[in-house]
């Protein structure tokens, strides 16, 4: 028993230890410079979007990998692959297939056992995955039913290529980076210090805040309220799924299904 056999040394590691500050600084400065150049008309608007996506999702994924002690190279490769995918997706819907890159890279790291701290690469039982699918499905159904009953939003069935491209973006960047950082890294670390409720509140609040400051999210009140409502639910439930299964897979499944449903909605 640990309390009897092992020396009890005071905790020295901070919550934000191992954060790749240099990489984050480079990403921030790079995104700022690109945004400035776009503002000055030197670079096209697309360049700004590429830089923004790379900086935001790259920072989240790189931090998650760094907290998992996957190594600097793994972080750099992940950021590069997201940047590459963001650039490729600007060329057309087919280019969005490049978002498979970050997912494959993370999968490769997981199979090598370097992401166990994130809850990836560890054995996972089928029940938590089924629960994740169920949660994602239930929230998606609710979202679609609620949306279909409102005046401003409807289920969009046209432009399937755009929907698939957006779905690829979610899988390779949005969901992957969000779940890796907010659940696998932030919630996991917070839970080692505080009770589940406090850790889940912190991780979910940060998760919701990340979407509220996202310039890509439409700024209408209804959508903001809806985003807070659904993302808070999704975030809290994914924290519970992670705490239950100690795996990121159920959360990835629920978030992927929910965002797939979200991508089918369109403003009239």
């Amino acid at each position: 028993m640990w309390a009897l056999d092992r020396p009890c040394v005071p905790r020295a590691e901070r919550l934000c230890a191992d954060t790749p500050l240099a990489l984050l600084a480079v990403l921030g400065v790079g995104a700022g410079v690109v945004a400035g150049l776009v503002e000055l008309g030197v670079l096209p608007v697309h360049a700004g979007r590429v830089a923004g996506v790379t900086a935001a999702h790259g920072a989240l994924l790189a931090t998650a990998l760094a907290w998992s002690r996957a190594g600097v190279i793994a972080c750099g490769v992940a950021v590069a692959l997201i940047g590459l995918a963001a650039g490729a997706s600007q060329l057309g819907p087919v280019g969005a297939l490049a978002y498979l890159g970050p997912g494959l890279w993370v999968g490769l790291l997981a199979t090598r056992g370097r992401l166990t701290r994130l809850g990836l690469g560890t054995p996972v039982r089928p029940w938590p995955i089924a629960a994740g699918v169920l949660v994602g499905g239930a929230l998606s159904c609710h979202l679609l039913v609620s949306a279909s009953r409102t005046l401003g939003v409807h289920v969009r069935v046209d432009h399937a290529a755009d929907v698939l491209a957006a779905f690829a973006y979610d899988l390779g960047a949005n969901v992957l980076a969000g779940e890796s950082f907010f659940r696998g890294a932030l919630f996991s670390r917070a839970e080692r210090r505080w009770p589940f409720a406090a850790a889940a509140t912190l991780a979910t609040s940060a998760y919701v805040l990340r979407y509220l400051v996202d310039p890509l999210l439409p700024k209408s009140v209804e959508l903001m309220v809806g985003a807070v409502f659904y993302l808070a639910l999704l975030g809290a439930i994914n924290c519970w799924l992670f705490a239950w299964s100690r795996s990121l897979v159920p959360g990835l499944a629920s978030a992927a299904i929910f965002f797939a449903a979200y991508r089918t909605l369109g403003v009239r």
Partner: protein, 499 residues
């Protein structure tokens, strides 16, 4: 669970069919499954049921807000959302509190029942650990308790230095560790002191893969205090019983000793009477013969010699009795010490025995130039007489008795050895006790049982020691060591009185 889900769906369906919108009175029916879930599953269950109710009714309420803004009906719907959440969580919290109090009460009862039976501390701790492991729903549990200088550990082998338990034991305050290792699933550890009279007499430590809430920690602290008190009570009761048993044993031993002493004294009175009567009878008989008859001179001399020997014997017994009386009053025998040459004293005493009875071969072996000792000659003679008398009495007729003396550093050792049956090892330490006689020796020869007690007292009054070495079937050797004072005595006797 299925009842709650079915009820939620049914209420939603009824509201939808009624088409009453967000202000439908049927919305209050959500309270039934929400409260039921709270009572069944606690705060989490109540909260989830409320969330499910809100999710199910959101498609009815939210579109209305979007269409018409915050109308009174819409506000009613929102208030219903808030009420459902509040009622679900609060009911669950209250139910959780009641459950925790009930579990705490049951745990305390379990502790009392477990420690009610008297058992050694390690066994009691093991039982208590097993009982608590069942109740506390933890992955690992250990109980440690001080038992005088050692630590009794249940649930492990030892308490490592610097461990959580060691820290709590040293500081006497609870300690919580939110993550014990680097595992993906954090394992919490909590240790509370088992307090008794303000001192940590042990530690209760638990580990769980999951939360140990503040309320649970408070409950564990209360349990720790209760276990500490119960263990202390059990220990006090055990100690009291042990003391009672020890006291009873001591009283019984003292009673046996007194009874034995009483028997010995009774036997002594009988023996002493007989010992006194024998020489008195001889003196009485011979004196009457001398008074009534006219005898030849040789016969008168012989009778006078017998009377003198019996008178000496009588005097010796009376002296022993007087010395014993002084010993029992805690006084040393009265001595009149002068420089005494040992060899003539030994030879004179041995001669008396040689003249009295020729049943044994008594030899003397004295080193030449023995130093003189500062001793009472009469006491020394009584010591030698007692020892030689014992050697003769308890050794077979015809065997040898050896009396010797030799210098021993700053002392002189006098030895009296016989070839008798010896003294059993288990009673050797008792032979100097007054009235004590070796059980199987009583039938061999007469004796009062005070001779050796007097010998010991006389020798110790001289500042010396007496030791017995006995081998059954081989013989017994008694060694008396008398100190030789610093500075040689002059040939001229110098009288001094001691005691």
């Amino acid at each position: 669970m299925s009842f709650i889900a079915a009820a939620l769906v049914a209420v939603t369906a009824a509201i939808a069919v009624e088409d009453g919108g967000s202000a439908s009175l049927l919305r209050h029916a959500y309270l039934v499954p929400v409260v039921a879930a709270a009572l069944r599953f606690g705060a989490l269950g109540g909260g989830l049921a409320a969330a499910a109710a809100i999710l199910l009714s959101a498609p009815i309420v939210l579109p209305e807000i979007e269409r018409s803004g915050l109308t009174s009906e819409a506000v009613e719907g929102l208030v219903t959302f808030a009420l459902l959440g509040l009622v679900g969580v609060l009911s669950g919290v209250l139910r959780g509190k009641i459950g925790r109090h009930r579990r705490r009460y049951e745990t305390l009862v379990t502790i009392q029942r477990t420690l009610a039976d008297e058992a050694p501390l390690d066994l009691a701790l093991a039982r208590l650990r097993a009982a608590l492991a069942d109740r506390l729903r933890v992955h690992a549990i250990a109980l440690v308790a001080r038992d005088d200088e050692r630590l009794v550990v249940a649930g492990g082998d030892r308490v490592a230095e610097g461990s959580l338990v060691a820290r709590v034991l040293a500081r006497g305050a609870p300690a919580f560790v939110s993550a014990t290792g680097e595992d993906v699933q954090p394992c919490r550890a909590f240790a509370v002191p088992l307090l008794s009279r303000g001192r940590a007499m042990g530690v209760l430590a638990v580990e769980r893969r999951g939360d140990i809430s503040v309320a649970e920690r408070a409950a564990l602290e209360a349990i720790g205090a209760h276990v500490g008190l119960a263990l202390e009570n059990a220990r006090l009761v055990s100690r009291q019983r042990r003391f009672t048993a020890e006291l009873e044993e001591r009283v019984a031993a003292a009673r046996r000793e007194l009874e034995e002493l009483d028997r010995a004294k009774s036997a002594f009175v009988a023996i002493a009477s007989h010992e006194l009567r024998t020489p008195l009878t001889a003196l009485q008989g011979f004196s009457e013969i001398l008074a009534l008859r006219r005898l030849p001179a040789e016969e008168v001399t012989r009778i006078a010699e017998v009377m003198r020997r019996e008178a000496r014997r009588l005097g010796r017994i009376v002296s022993d009795l007087l010395d014993l009386s002084r010993i029992e009053r805690g006084l040393e025998p009265a001595l009149c010490r002068v420089p005494v040459k040992l060899e003539p004293t030994i030879e004179a005493t041995v001669d008396l025995f040689r003249q009295g009875a020729a049943t044994h071969l008594i030899t003397t072996e004295c080193e030449p130039s023995l130093p003189v000792v500062d001793a009472d000659p009469d006491a020394l003679e009584r010591v030698l007489t007692n020892l030689i008398s014992n050697a003769i009495k308890y050794s077979p007729t015809g065997s040898a008795v050896r009396v010797g003396a030799r210098a021993l550093g700053g002392a002189v050792a006098i030895e009296v050895a016989d070839a008798g049956r010896g003294i059993p090892a288990e009673v050797v330490h008792r032979i100097f006790e007054p009235y004590y006689r070796v059980p199987d020796a009583a039938g061999m020869a007469r004796g009062t049982g005070i001779g050796l007690a007097v010998v010991k007292a006389l020798v110790e009054a001289h500042g010396g020691t007496v030791r017995v070495d006995s081998t059954p079937a081989i013989g017994t050797r008694v060694t008396v060591v008398l100190p030789v004072p610093a500075g040689a005595f002059l040939d001229t006797p110098r009288r001094s009185r001691v005691g």
